[in-house]
Amino acid sequence: MTRKKVKLQYISNDSARKATFKKRKKGLMKKVSELTTLCGIDACAIVYSPYDSQPEIWPSPGGVQRVLSRFKKLPEMEQSKKMVNQESFLRQRIAKANEQLKKMSKDNREKEMTEVMFQGLAGKPLLNLNLMDLNDLGWLIEQNLKDINKRVDLLTKGPHNSQVPLSSTMAGASGTMVAPPDAALDRTGGMEMNMDAMQRQQQWFTDMMHSHDHVGFGGDDMMFPFADGNHNNLWSNPFFP
C-alpha cells in the first residue's frame, strides 16, 4: 500500500488516474460491504465512470433496487435530512475541523500558560508577557486556587467526605483561556457554576487589582519565599538557575 500523501485534486495524468480509480473503487466497495456486515444494515453504492458504459454497483442490481426503493418510500424530508453532495459534505468536514482546531489551540494555550505559571512558582520573573498573557495567567492561577481551596477544605474537614472526584489535576483546570470559560466545574458533587463566565473573569480581575497581601510574606520582589526549610531546593531550583 502506498503511503504517499495524495493531493486532493483531479489527477491529470490519464493512466495514473485510471489506476487510482480501479484501486479506490475496489476499496470503496469493500468498505460498503464491511459496513453492512459489521452493523447489520442496508446500503448500496453506484459508481459511474468514463471507463465503463455500465455503472459499477454494490451489492447487486436487485440489492441496489431494493435499497433505493426503501429510500424513496420515505418522506421527502427524511430523505433530505442527511443527504449530502460533495460541497455540503466538505463544508461539514470543514466546520468540524475548525471546531477541533479551535479546541486544540485553546488546550495548547492552557498548557503553555500552565508552564508559565509553574515557572513563576519556581521563581522565574514574569517577562515578555503581554496583557492577554497576563490576563490568562491570572485566570489560570485563580482556577488553581479554587481547586486548592476545595481540596484543603476537604482534607481539613476530615476523611468523611469521600464524594469529591479525585480526577482534578493542576494543569487540567477546565475552561478556556482566551474566550469566556465553560461553566461546568463539577467538583463538589453536582454544583454547576451559575455565574456567567465573563463575570467570573472580571471578578478575579477586580480581586487581583485590589488584593492585599494576606499571606504575610514581606517581599515585594518576584521571588517566592517558601518559608520553611522542608523543601529546600525549591527556589535554587537547578531548572531555573
Binding site: 493531493k7 460498503v32 452493523c39
Partner: protein, 180 residues
C-alpha cells in the same frame, strides 16, 4: 499519567458487532469514512457516485456527486447520461471550482490541525519533564495538606505580581495611548 486517548487501529473480524454501543459508534465512524472515501474518489478521478446507507436506527444517510436524486433516478430509469448542454457545463464548471476551493481549504485546515497536535505533544513532553523536578506541578489531589498550603501561598503572591504587571501596562498605556 497521560492516558491514551483511544485504542488506535484494531483489527476486527468482519461479522455483526455484538455490542449495541460498539455497533453504533462503528456505524458513525465508518459511515463518515465511507463518504470521505467516496468524496475523494470523485475529486481525484472525476467520477459520479451515489451511496445510500441506513443506520441501525433506520435513518437514511446519502451521499451523491453531483446530486443524490439525479444519480439515483439515472440508475433507476436506466437513462443515458444527460446531454452536456452549455448551461449544464457552466453549472458543472462552477460546482467543480467551489469543490476545488473547499478541498484546498480543508487540506489547509487538516495541516494546521496536525501542526497544532504536534505542538500539543511537545507541550505534554515538557510538562512531563518538569514534573520530575518540581513537586508543585503534580496534580492537586496528590499533594499533601502542607504542600497545598505552601502552594496556595505562592500562588497568591504570583497573582499579586501578575496584577501589578497588568496595572503597570495599563498605566503606561493611558499615558502613552499608542502602546497597547
Amino acid at each position: 499519567m497521560v492516558k491514551k486517548s483511544s485504542l488506535g487501529r484494531q483489527k476486527i473480524p468482519i461479522e455483526k458487532i455484538p455490542k449495541k454501543n460498539h455497533l453504533q459508534v462503528t456505524f458513525s465512524k465508518r459511515r463518515a469514512g465511507l463518504f470521505k472515501k467516496a468524496s475523494e474518489l470523485c475529486t481525484l478521478c472525476g467520477v459520479e457516485i451515489g451511496i445510500v446507507v441506513f443506520s441501525p436506527a433506520s435513518k437514511p444517510f446519502s451521499f451523491g456527486h453531483p446530486e443524490v436524486e439525479s444519480l439515483f433516478d439515472r440508475f433507476l430509469t436506466r437513462n443515458p447520461p444527460p446531454k452536456n448542454s452549455s448551461s449544464h457545463q457552466l453549472i458543472e464548471a462552477h460546482r467543480n471550482a467551489s469543490v476545488h476551493e473547499l478541498n484546498l481549504y480543508l487540506t489547509q485546515l487538516v495541516n494546521q490541525l496536525e501542526a497544532e497536535k504536534k505542538h500539543g505533544d511537545e507541550l505534554d513532553q515538557i510538562k512531563k519533564d518538569t514534573r520530575r523536578q518540581c513537586w508543585w506541578t503534580a496534580p492537586i489531589d496528590e499533594l499533601g495538606l502542607h504542600e497545598l498550603e505552601q502552594l496556595r501561598a505562592a500562588l497568591l503572591i504570583l497573582k499579586k505580581n501578575v496584577g501589578r504587571q497588568i496595572s503597570e501596562i495599563l498605566i503606561e498605556s493611558s499615558t502613552n495611548p499608542s502602546q497597547i
